[in-house]
């Protein structure tokens, strides 16, 4: 039965993963972290993650273009890597996002997206 630590370990097993965390995006707080973070600062990275998710979720209108549309993930591509943010939807009230930092050369975006989708689902379902 996977717990939070287990989920992050599996996220680090994604090819090219450098760091991973679970972030509360209303407060910008890293609930759990593992591996490296941009500038070696998981808390700053979490605050940035929260800003990005909130910008996409509530400050812009992408997710309300179609009724019942939902934000699933966000991908930020830089010259050196990919930053993948996948929303973790729990039944109870929480605002969590799974964040994985991938190396641009070793990482495979499609594989990572699929693996993160599965991880986020497994974390909250039996």
């Amino acid at each position: 039965m996977p717990g939070v630590e287990n989920c992050l370990q599996e996220a680090m097993a994604i090819p090219g993963a450098i760091g991973a965390s679970i972030v509360d995006y209303t407060t910008g707080f890293p609930v759990a972290t593992t591996g490296a973070a941009p500038n070696e600062d998981h808390e700053a990275a979490a605050a940035g993650t929260a800003d990005v998710v909130q910008a996409a979720q509530s400050r812009s209108l992408f997710v309300s273009a179609v009724p019942h549309d939902l934000l699933e993930d966000l991908i930020i591509t830089t010259a050196g890597g990919y930053h993948l943010l996948r929303l973790v939807r729990t039944d109870f009230d929480s605002r969590l996002v799974l964040y994985v930092w991938l190396d641009r050369v070793r990482g495979n975006l499609a594989v990572a997206r699929r693996r993160m989708e599965r991880l986020a689902d497994e974390l909250i379902s039996t």
Binding site: M1, T26, F92, D93
Partner: protein, 335 residues
């Protein structure tokens, strides 16, 4: 068990963590809360302003109230409610961990945010949920301070966090954009429910609720809490709890200062036909002014002055929150 002493809750948490103690840090006052430690690491926190694990899981429909109650009945005495829910397959390890982490940081904010409060450490106390996670207390205390800062960046009025929420009858602009969470709050705010009531009713984290309320206040969509000092000419003196300011009380004049006429308001208890009190009066000597303030004399059956009647009843610090929460959950299960 020592009697509660007034101190900084955050400082005491750090000390208890350094000594690797096991027990509960009970913070009094409003809203107050309890932070549970095991060998110096935080395992859980609860506060009356933050819905607990049971409230979040049942309000969202993730667990039936009956299921939660059964786990409480069976596991409270051995402090293994969480373990029971996992073993019976009602909830996954991941869900429980995320829920407990969320609740812990949420309640810790309310317990630790205040600079000074009556605090007490109960050695050996364990929460009935049982140990699900362990968190570094320094991270918890740092996060509580950061959350307080974030609220002030949105809209610096802490009274919004505690007073009953009243939506404005007419929005201040032609077009308003709301998030789903804000809509939910406005629809359920009825002028009676406090932010803590709304969080519990909607099954949402207490901090997330006041965060949205501060945003709504910044947008001008909820009524700003009434200012206590309405009339700047009339300065109310600090008073002891449970008593009131004597309206006749006069400040002792400074010995060599310039003589300033003191305006004394008419006595509220006077019948309308009575002549007004002679004013201005001579300031009384310092002796009587230093006595504890007394209530002005009232007619039989007259109402208490507004400022006393509006004062909430003092919260009894020893109220067993866990017991109250259990009773509430049990009552819900009967519905």
């Amino acid at each position: 068990m020592k009697s509660p002493t007034s101190a900084a809750p955050g400082g005491l948490l750090t000390r208890a963590a350094d000594e690797r103690r096991t027990g509960a840090l009970v913070v009094g006052g409003a809203p107050g809360g309890t932070v549970y430690l095991a060998e110096g690491l935080v395992t859980y926190a609860e506060s009356s302003a933050a819905p607990g694990v049971g409230e979040l899981l049942t309000a969202s429909g993730r667990l039936a109230a009956r299921t939660w109650q059964a786990a409480l009945d069976a596991g409270t005495a051995q402090a293994r409610v969480g373990r029971l829910l996992l073993d019976q397959g009602h909830i996954t390890q991941g869900e429980l961990e995320l829920c407990v982490l969320g609740v812990t940081y949420d309640a810790a904010y309310f317990a630790l945010a205040r600079g000074s409060a009556p605090v007490n450490f109960l050695d050996g106390a364990v929460h009935w949920l049982g140990e699900v996670v362990r968190v570094d207390p320094a991270a918890v205390a740092r996060e509580a301070r950061r959350r307080a800062r974030m609220l002030d960046e949105i809209y610096p009025n802490p009274r919004i966090d505690t007073v009953a929420v009243t939506p404005v009858p007419r929005p201040p602009r032609e077009r308003v954009t709301l998030t789903a969470a804000q809509w939910e709050l406005l629809v359920h705010a009825d002028g009676q429910r406090t932010p803590a009531d709304l969080a519990l009713l909607l099954g949402r984290a207490g901090y997330a609720t006041i965060q949205e309320l501060r945003r709504l206040a910044a947008l001008g969509l909820i009524e700003p809490p009434a200012e206590r000092t309405a009339d700047p000419a009339f300065v109310r003196l600090p008073r002891a709890r449970g008593s009131s300011v004597d309206v006749q009380r006069v400040t002792p004049a400074a010995p060599d200062g310039p003589t300033v006429p003191i305006v004394v308001p008419a006595r509220p208890g006077l019948a309308s036909g009575d002549p007004p009190a002679p004013a201005p009066r001579e300031p009384e000597p310092a002796g009587p002014a230093e006595r504890p303030p007394r209530l002005a004399r009232r007619k039989p059956g007259a109402r208490l002055p507004k400022e006393i009647a509006a004062e909430p009843a003092p919260v009894h610090p020893g109220t067993d929150e866990v017991l109250l929460k259990r009773i509430r959950t049990a009552l819900r299960a009967l519905r």
